[in-house]
Structures are given as structure tokens and as C-alpha cells.
């Protein structure tokens, strides 16, 4: 827990120690770390005064909570109705094929997480894919490939700069 330390304490201190604030705390933890670790879950439950089982019951009920770390880059394919009609399912399949991991999962090298999202509300631009919080309008399989290439390129530069290659 030591490496979270103060930031996590700060989140706990933001809210009164009551059960109704459990979701608030979990959302902030997820916002700060991208997922909810066992330790932070225990802390939040203790603070809210609920049993650990309730913490997990909440975290597994709501879609936005993750119990595992996310990949470095998150690709979210909008599967709202307008995007579905304009072929978003094909984009999901294309991504799954290229990255070798199913939607909802993270690649083994921890580089990519693929998710689907119910609707991002940019239906005029369907199909939309959100790459690292940046919405990409009118997506096609070809544009998706280009996107992945750009990210891959950046990742390669990053690793070089860090002296890994």
C-alpha cells in the first residue's frame, strides 16, 4: 500500500465515513489509479463502514469499475445504436483480430485495453472510436490501422528514450 500512500488517504478524507459515499470513493480511486486494487478496496470499505463483500458487490455490479490494471492505451469502440448500424461491430472484430485480445481485455504486453462503450453521444460522427479519451470520428478499419500504427510508433520512441531498446 505504501506506494499509494498519501493520494489514497486524500481520497478517503474527501468524504464522510458513511456507506452512501462508498461509490464516490471507488470512483476517485479508479480515477487516480485506473483500477481498484485489493488494498484500496479494503481501505474504502473500512472508511465507508461496510463489509468488503459489499465493496466487491458494488464494484462488480457497475460497469465502470475495474479490478485489474488497464493497458497503457485504452481503445473504446462506441457501440451505441447509430454506431452499431454503421458497422461498429466490425471495428471491434478488427481490433480483436489485430491485437489478439477480446473486447474488455488487455494485451499481454499491457499496451492496449479494448473496451466497448454504450454511447458516447457523438452519433453524427458514427462510428466513433475513442482512443485514449480522444474521439475519432467516422472510423473505418483502415483508419483504425493507421491509429494503431501511430500509437505503436510513439510507444517505440518512448521505450527508446527510456533506454529499453
Amino acid at each position: 500500500m505504501s506506494h499509494y500512500g498519501e493520494a489514497l488517504d486524500g481520497i478517503m478524507d474527501r468524504y464522510p465515513g458513511q456507506p452512501e459515499y462508498l461509490i464516490f470513493m471507488l470512483q476517485d480511486i479508479q480515477g487516480a489509479y485506473g483500477y481498484i486494487s485489493k488494498e484500496s478496496m479494503q481501505l474504502a470499505c473500512d472508511r465507508a463502514g461496510v463489509p468488503l463483500t459489499q465493496g466487491y458487490s458494488v464494484a462488480t455490479f457497475y460497469q465502470s469499475f475495474r479490478l485489474d490494471p488497464r493497458g497503457e492505451h485504452e481503445i473504446r469502440v462506441c457501440s451505441g445504436t447509430a454506431c452499431h448500424l454503421k458497422g461498429s461491430q466490425r471495428l471491434v472484430e478488427e481490433l480483436e483480430r489485430r491485437l489478439g485480445v477480446e473486447a474488455g481485455g488487455t494485451t499481454e504486453d499491457q499496451r492496449y485495453t479494448i473496451n466497448t462503450v454504450n454511447c458516447v453521444g457523438a452519433c453524427a460522427l458514427a462510428p466513433v472510436v475513442v482512443v485514449d479519451d480522444e474521439p475519432q470520428p467516422n472510423m473505418t478499419a483502415k483508419k483504425l490501422q493507421r491509429c494503431l500504427k501511430t500509437i505503436d510508433h510513439e510507444l517505440t520512441i518512448d521505450t527508446r528514450e527510456q533506454g529499453y531498446v
Partner: protein
């Protein structure tokens, strides 16, 4: 946060009466020159995704460069969604009212140099009427806007949602002042009852009657009583609540405060979908600014009435749009609905009387109080008064947000305002009401869009998503889509919903593979009946609607899947093959290069062939082909 506006600094912050509010409004208007040029950039979700923040930056940079040359330094304003999403990014130039569309960052400099400095319109950026090609200058000349009646959206696209002064200048909080200073709580409830307003979240329950029941519950059980905004807009394809919260957050707050006054509530909750960070931000700013001015918090406008509100972020569960599930979620628990033997107005949040209304419903309240129930009930049709905001999406030319009086025919929205289907063919069906709604086929295009007529047609109003489908959309596929959605979102409490939806989806999966029989269609209908009857909340009881209406109106298409193993729309993968038209193929090899399964063969400049046994039907070849030689059979 800094002071909302310099105009406020010269006076005492807290407004102490209705008169103070009017004086402030007057003061703000006096400091503003109506002839000052203003560049208004749409920062709605559609335009933002299309790059409008970059356009704003480019215009700002160009303005800085042009400097004094412009004579009068123009204002630059960012607003909520202006509605015409498919033409975005949108930029409006005032005072002329020029409507620029599809503006790119590169256009920023020209807008400043030509339109602002020289006062000339840029023809290239103006809208052209699709039928005649004629260039038009202002919003009002465009059918998409001209045919709408904007009541709830009247401020959106005009005001900066993060400046309370903009709202006040436009008459914001006047309804609250009127209610507090001239009306008793009883009169407010009576006004809402008489307006005929019905809940905009989907079910269409009369808002006034709901408030009345809550008052009766309070009389029996005492306080506290809570008021709650349902901003957990979960229907895919619906973004009107988001737009209202992002674009005019004060309208929602004002409605809520008026409701709290009518019901005697001291605490309110805004439950906002987590995927809407900008809505949350704008509501937070609005709450802060309203508190600063004494429009929210202790002793509002010195009336002795105190009320405050808190935001709860949703955590990604569609079922939390249901009232009792939403309450358990606010209480910090998983959002499971409970039986409603006792209605939630009597036993809602923490077992207390609670009024929960949808965002759009709350945003209607200030208008009703300002202009009166008589005015409001004159809009729309007798049992569905007022207007409704729709998000018009799918296979339609003018994608965007549309507000029309209740009771207009479907065809007016889709064909006149929406400009019809790209390519000019008639639409196949319009899906309304999201996963709980149904399809209105082209033959019923004259169906009036109001609560009762839509229900009669087997669909429902729902939150207001209107998804246009054309001949290339398969009803079996759409049915599978909604079932898969609801299957994932079912909380699992009731067996008919939890397992019934899965089984229904499996039957449709078989149809999409050509494996079903005609008897399965009957089984599907009887299973749908069981799910409807055996589910506790509206998620389950309305879940079969999309399938049932498509069977009702498009049975031949279902039969084509099971009897002939054909998907007439060319969508269901296992029933289609991709072929290359030898007449059109130029042998450019681009499809072959893109094919992920390497199953397209052919030498350069000779006709190519797809191996149907290897083809995985990903459709990339079709997307790649520049001459349109690839067809679906």
C-alpha cells in the same frame, strides 16, 4: 473559481429579492452592446469530437493577430450543442446571425479577416439548401432549424453555460423569483398539474400528479422529502439530457429548486451518468455560481426557503435509470430495483417521500412557471402537451438534436427536419424509445409522435432517441443488438429477465445463422410475453419491445432468415457472401492488400476473386474498394 463576471463585482453578491435579480439582469444587459460582433463556437459533444476546440483556438489566435484592426474587439463564446451535429463544427457570427458550418481550424483566420474585419460572409462556409443548392445565411433559413420549436433548448447554443450572467441576461431564475415571491407551494404544484406536463424520461407519468402524491405522502409521514434529477441517460443514441445539462445547466437547477420549494424539500440530488464529465463540470460550476448569488443554499432570495443539492456520478449501469435502482445507487449500493407495491414518491430515497424527474422534465418547469400552464398546455396535443427533444440519428441526412411540439408526425421529423435518408430512398423504419421501444415502419410514417400514439403503434416515447434505419439495416440484427445490450444490463434479480433475454438472444443468433425454424418465431413471441409479465422493473418488462414490433411489422424478413436462409438487408454475416463485380473491378489490388485473411486473389490489372470459403466477411474489402466493385449477396 473566479468571479463569474466582472459586472457582478461592483455589487453585493447575494441577491436578496426578486427585484435584485431583475436589477442584475438589467445591469448585465446594459453593459452589453447588442451590436458588438460575437463569434459563437459550438462545444457540444458532436462538434467537440469533430474538433471544434481547435477551431476556437484558431479563431482566438487569429483575433490576437488581427488586434485593433478589427475596430471593435469581438467577443468569443463557446456554447452547448447547437443541434445540427452532422454539419459541425458550427460557428455563428453575431449580430448578423451568419451560420457557418463544417468549419476547420484553417478557416479561423479567414473568418476574422473577412467576416469580422470587413464584414463579408464567406460563401464556402455557409449552408446550401440540398434541393436547390441555394446558399443561405442564417439559421432561420435552414429547414432543420426553421421547422423546430425550441422551448427547452431555447438558450442552448446562445449562452455560455459556465457564465451565470449569460443565463441571467436571458431571463434565467426569473421563474424561481416569481414562484418564491408570488406563489405558494400549493399554487406551484397546481400550475404544474394544469400544464399537463408528462415525464420526459420515458414512461410519461403526469409530473403534477407525481408532485401531488408526494405532497400527500409528506402530509402523512412528515419531512424530509427529497427531489432528484435523473440524468442517468442510458439509452444508446439519446443525448438530449446530456445536451441540456451541458448547455443550460441553470435551467435544470432552477426547475429543481422550484420543485423543492413546491414540495418543501431541503436536499436534492443530481444523478448524472459517469460518461458525461462535461455535464458534471458544468453543473458543478452552475451550483457554485447559483450559491454565490443566493439562488441556491440558505435563505434563497431572502424568502426563508433553504435548499441545497449534491451530484452523484453514475457508475455505468443502465438499470439505474429506473427510479428505485437509482435510489439504491445514491445510497451507495448496487442498483437493484425493488418492487413498487409502495410507490417511490411515498418511499424513495432512504424510505422517504421522493420526487424523481428526468432532466428534460425539470428543465420544462421554469418555462411553465414563467409563462403559465395555459400557455404550456396550448403546445402539443391534448394528452401530450409541450415539446419533446429528440436525438435524430442513424441513416438520416441531418443528424442532430431536434425539438418539436408533441403530436407532429414521424415523417415531419425524419423527412422534413432530418432531410430523409442519404441517397434519397424512403426510410425503412424509425426506432424510438431505445432498447425499451420499438420500430415504426415507413407505412406508419404519419403516426403522431406523442406518448399515446407511439404506445399504440407498439413503440414508446422513451427518452427521445430516434434512430432511422434504411434498407441496409436488418431487423434481426437490430433485435439482437438491443437484446445483447439489455442482457448485459439486466441486474439479474428476476429470472425471466436474466435468463429469458439470453434465450431470446440465442434464438435470434440462430436466425442470423439461418438455423431457426418458423416455429421459433412463435416461441420467441411467447417467451417475450413471459419476460414482459415476469419482470419487476421496466427494463425487463419493456425489453422484448424491439423484437416484438419488428416481428409485427417485418415478419417476412424474419421468415426470409429462417426459411430461405437469407438476410435481405445483407447484414447477417453467415447468410451473405462478398463478391467482386468483374465489370467494375480494375485489378488495383487494394482490396487484396487489405484483406486480413488473404483470400482475395488476382493479378494486377486483372479481375480479382474472393474465396468464399476463406472469407471471414469482415467487409474491409468493400470499404477499401474505390470503384464500388464489391457487392454483398
Amino acid at each position: 473559481m473566479s468571479n463569474p463576471n466582472a459586472a457582478l463585482e461592483v455589487m453585493d453578491w447575494r441577491l436578496k429579492s426578486a427585484g435584485d435579480l431583475t436589477a442584475l439582469q438589467k445591469q448585465i444587459l446594459e453593459t452589453r452592446d447588442p451590436n458588438r460582433p460575437e463569434i459563437v463556437v459550438c462545444h457540444g459533444s458532436g462538434c467537440m469530437a469533430n474538433g471544434s476546440p481547435k477551431v476556437t483556438d484558431a479563431i482566438k489566435a487569429a483575433l490576437a493577430k488581427a488586434g485593433i484592426q478589427a475596430g471593435v474587439i469581438p467577443g468569443i463564446k463557446t456554447t452547448g450543442c447547437q443541434g445540427f451535429c452532422s454539419r459541425g463544427p458550427l460557428v455563428l457570427i453575431r449580430p448578423q446571425g451568419l451560420f457557418y458550418q463544417q468549419v476547420q481550424p484553417d478557416d479561423g483566420e479567414e473568418i476574422v479577416e473577412r467576416t469580422i474585419v470587413k464584414g463579408e460572409p464567406i460563401k464556402r462556409l455557409l449552408y446550401k439548401l440540398p434541393e436547390t443548392g441555394e446558399t443561405v445565411f442564417t439559421e432561420q433559413e435552414i429547414p432543420f432549424y426553421k421547422l423546430q420549436e425550441r422551448i427547452v433548448l431555447h438558450n442552448i447554443g446562445k449562452i455560455d453555460p459556465s457564465e451565470i450572467t449569460d443565463t441571467i441576461a436571458a431571463g434565467g431564475y426569473q421563474a424561481l423569483a416569481k414562484a418564491l415571491s408570488t406563489m405558494t407551494p400549493e399554487q406551484v404544484v397546481a400550475e404544474v398539474e394544469q400544464s399537463g406536463l408528462r415525464g420526459r424520461g420515458g414512461a410519461g407519468f403526469p409530473t403534477g400528479r407525481k408532485w401531488r402524491s408526494a405532497l400527500n405522502a409528506v402530509a402523512k409521514k412528515g419531512r424530509p422529502v427529497y427531489v432528484v434529477v435523473n440524468g442517468d441517460e442510458g439509452d444508446p443514441g439519446a443525448f438530449m439530457d446530456r445536451t441540456i445539462m451541458e448547455g443550460d445547466p441553470h435551467a435544470v437547477l432552477e426547475g429543481l429548486i422550484i420543485g423543492a420549494y413546491a414540495l418543501g424539500a431541503e436536499q436534492g440530488f443530481l444523478y448524472v451518468r459517469a460518461e458525461y464529465p462535461l455535464a458534471i463540470k458544468h453543473l458543478e460550476i452552475a451550483m457554485f455560481q447559483a450559491r454565490e448569488l443566493g439562488l441556491l443554499g440558505e435563505n434563497i432570495l431572502n424568502s426563508g426557503f433553504s435548499f441545497d443539492v449534491r451530484i452523484n456520478r453514475g457508475a455505468g449501469a443502465f438499470v439505474c435509470g429506473e427510479s428505485t435502482a437509482l435510489f439504491t445507487s445514491i445510497e451507495g449500493k448496487p442498483g437493484n430495483p425493488r418492487p413498487k407495491y409502495v410507490r417511490s414518491v411515498e418511499e424513495g430515497l432512504w424510505g422517504r417521500p421522493t420526487v424523481l424527474n428526468n432532466v428534460e422534465t425539470w428543465a420544462n418547469i421554469p418555462q411553465i412557471i414563467s409563462k403559465g400552464a395555459g400557455w404550456y398546455s396550448g403546445l402539443g396535443v391534448p394528452h401530450s402537451t409541450g415539446t419533446k427533444v429528440f436525438s435524430l440519428v442513424g441513416k438520416v441526412n441531418n443528424v442532430g438534436l431536434v425539438e418539436v411540439p408533441m403530436g407532429v408526425p414521424v415523417s415531419k421529423i425524419v423527412e422534413e427536419i432530418g432531410g430523409g435518408v442519404p441517397g434519397g430512398s424512403p426510410f425503412k423504419a424509425v426506432q424510438t424509445g431505445g432498447p425499451s421501444g420499438g420500430c415504426i415502419p415507413y407505412e406508419l410514417r404519419n403516426t403522431a409522435v406523442d406518448f399515446d400514439s407511439l404506445t399504440q403503434a407498439g413503440s414508446m416515447m422513451g427518452s427521445g432517441a430516434m434512430i432511422v434505419m434504411d434498407e441496409r439495416d436488418c431487423v434481426v440484427d437490430v433485435g439482437r443488438y438491443f437484446l445483447r445490450f439489455l442482457e448485459e444490463e439486466s441486474c439479474g434479480k428476476c429470472l425471466p429477465c436474466r435468463l429469458g433475454l439470453t434465450r431470446m438472444r440465442e434464438i435470434l443468433d440462430n436466425f442470423s445463422r439461418g438455423l431457426g425454424t418458423e416455429n421459433d418465431i412463435e416461441d420467441l413471441i411467447s417467451l417475450a410475453q413471459a419476460v414482459q409479465d415476469g419482470s419487476l422493473c421496466a427494463l425487463g418488462s419493456s425489453a422484448p419491445n424491439p423484437v416484438l414490433t419488428t416481428i409485427r411489422y417485418f415478419k417476412t424478413e424474419y421468415i426470409a432468415h429462417v426459411r430461405d436462409q437469407k438476410c435481405p438487408a445483407g447484414v447477417c454475416k453467415d447468410l451473405i457472401t462478398y463478391v467482386i463485380d468483374p465489370e467494375l473491378c480494375t485489378g488495383c489490388r487494394s482490396c487484396a492488400r487489405q484483406c486480413p485473411n488473404n483470400c482475395i486473389t488476382g493479378e494486377k490489372k486483372t479481375v480479382h476473386v474472393i474465396d468464399p470459403n476463406q472469407c471471414i466477411r469482415c467487409g474491409i474489402c468493400m470499404e477499401t474498394c474505390k470503384v464500388g466493385a464489391i457487392k454483398v449477396n
